[in-house]
């Protein structure tokens, strides 16, 4: 990898890919009771790097990114995020959660709060920002995801695509350094996928470090620096997207690609 200055193309490797690591996962294992979901995961993510994780269902890809902000606990190995190691120490978990945003497949907006309240909630209560400032800030992020006009509505009144964009705004409002996306478009109707991907692409262009679990291969090609293929709880293959799609090494990767590309 080179260390050139960043170029305008979004698919170039990030300038710091061989330098500063923002996430380091070392020999990490996780079990759900007897079930070994993640086996010896080693992964380094550079600042500004964008990674797409794909693989068949049950391969552990969602669990992997959920371990990064401790929604799931790992049992072996180490995970450190921006220099802080994830342990049982609640303080560390809080620090990491305030730096890592996550967007869920099911949006998980708070249905009893309006869109604006959803977005402004964490800045007010976690960052102790004055309400007026937090709401002004929230409006800025709602504009960024292109739904400022829905601010006074409740999530239940929005379409899935709009809800997911609110969820993205809610995460961005906390100024995270890393964004995790857990199948952000899987619960959406086909015509709404694009509006969410557009927001994500724009976010990618702004230089955000992103880990995205998705099967949107167009998105992977357009923005990812690396594509990681997981199966059976292991990382099977990781490559830049073009190489990954054109020249997969492993049989399992080939089989998976043939299944998702020719349906």
């Amino acid at each position: 990898m080179n260390q050139d200055t960043p170029t305008s193309s979004t698919t170039e490797a990030p300038a710091t890919s061989s330098g500063e690591k923002i996430i380091t996962i070392n020999g990490m294992h996780k079990w759900f009771d007897d079930f070994h979901v993640l086996k010896n995961i080693n992964l380094e993510v550079g600042r500004g790097e964008r990674i797409v994780i794909c693989g068949p269902s049950g391969s552990g890809k969602s669990t992997l990114i959920r371990c990064i902000n401790r929604l799931e606990e790992h049992q072996q190995g180490t995970i450190s995020v921006d220099g802080t190691e994830l342990t049982h120490d609640l303080k560390n978990i809080e620090i990491i959660r305030s730096e890592v945003g996550i967007v869920f497949q099911q949006f998980n907006l708070f249905p009893h709060l309006t869109v604006l309240e959803n977005v402004a909630l964490a800045p007010i209560w976690v960052r102790k920002m004055p309400r007026a400032e937090a709401e002004g800030n929230a409006m800025k992020y709602l504009e960024r995801v292109k739904i400022p006009e829905q601010a006074a509505k409740y999530p239940g009144q929005l379409s899935g695509g709009q809800q997911q964009r609110v969820a993205i705004a809610r995460s961005l409002c906390m100024n995270p350094r890393i964004m995790l996306f857990d199948e952000p478009t899987s619960a959406l109707d086909p015509e709404m996928i694009k509006e969410v991907l557009d927001v994500m692409i724009e976010l990618a262009e702004s230089g955000m470090t992103m880990l995205v679990v998705t099967h949107e291969m167009g998105f992977a090609t357009a923005v990812a620096h690396r594509v990681i293929f997981m199966d059976g709880g292991e990382i099977i293959e990781e490559k830049p997207p073009r190489e990954f799609f054109e020249n997969p090494e492993h049989e399992r990767t080939k089989l998976f690609l043939s299944q998702i590309l020719h349906h």
């Binding site: 959660r97 869920f104 009893h112 976690v126 409740y154 239940g156």
Partner: protein, 377 residues
Amino acid sequence: MAQNQAKQAYSPGTHPDLPPPVRTTGVLGWVRKNLISSPLNIVLTLASIWLLWSIVPPALNWVLAEAVWSADTRKECWALMGAPRDGACWAFIRGSFKLFVYGWYPEPERWRVNLTFLLFAITIFGALRENIPGKKYWLMFATAFPFIAAWLLLGGFGLTPVGTQKLGGILLTLVVAVTGIAFSLPIGLALALGRRSKLPALRAVCVIFIEFIRGVPLITLLFVASTMLTYFLPPGSTFDLLMRVLIMVTLFASAYIAEVVRGGLQGLPSGQYEAADSLGLTYWKAHRLIILPQALKISIPGIVNTFIGSFKDSVLVLIIGMMDILGLGRARLNDPEWLGLAPELYIFISLFFFISCFGMARYSLSLEKKLQTGHKY
């Protein structure tokens, strides 16, 4: 197309070539559809009409037309109607009304009871209104109300002390029921959270408490309160019977509230907890802002159900000799002047409970509607 247009030229029922359509809407339509649509239906309708005819007019006659509203004794009542028992003797209720409301609360101090009732009404009005200016102060007042009421009713601090054995009738019923309801919600909430806690010791304490209280009949707990507790207290100390009863009633209701709220907490999708966690909200903030508002909303029907249950269960205190409205009423039936007027008494008491409980039920419905924000997770 042309036919269609021709049809539209007539308003319904005015087409010269067609018979007027059978009415399916309005009163007549409803009658035709529901009451006389088949021979069996006609028979059932006639039978029902006959039944209503033979029950309702005599009942109304007894309750209202033939009823006597003022008399000093049962005999006077009988004398005022065609034949004894032809009508209700409401004079009994009227004459005993003050006793039924205040119990044996000393006459000159009854303004304190009235003031308490008034404050209670204001509290209910203020606390239950969604959009009222100064909501915060209303809630603070509502929280303080039980303590203000205790001071007003029992005296001390400048007021003449009144012993708890003087409380009776509707006053006592309300004291028992409202205390149980008001304190069981916060305690039940704490128990529900404790039962879901990650700390094994706390969880165990909550589980044991809830299961023990739920597993023992309220009457048994009341007997424990009235007899056994004295064995555990230091000799010579007296712990007021009413206080012991209130504690038992409250604990009993809170165990049920805890389970209802726990159901609400479990009804929330785990995504809500995860979203709150991932935004960096602490346990308490997440619960206060995200989890409890939603969990309590889901639990409203169950909570109100428990409230109604504990309101009605308050009559069980008569078993340990406390004179709530039912106990006092039954005692009054033994008065030789008013012997045999049980129907009047029980109708009155039923009406009191029905109005209170129905009010709670309606309020909970309107609250549910108000909190509806088109929830979809």
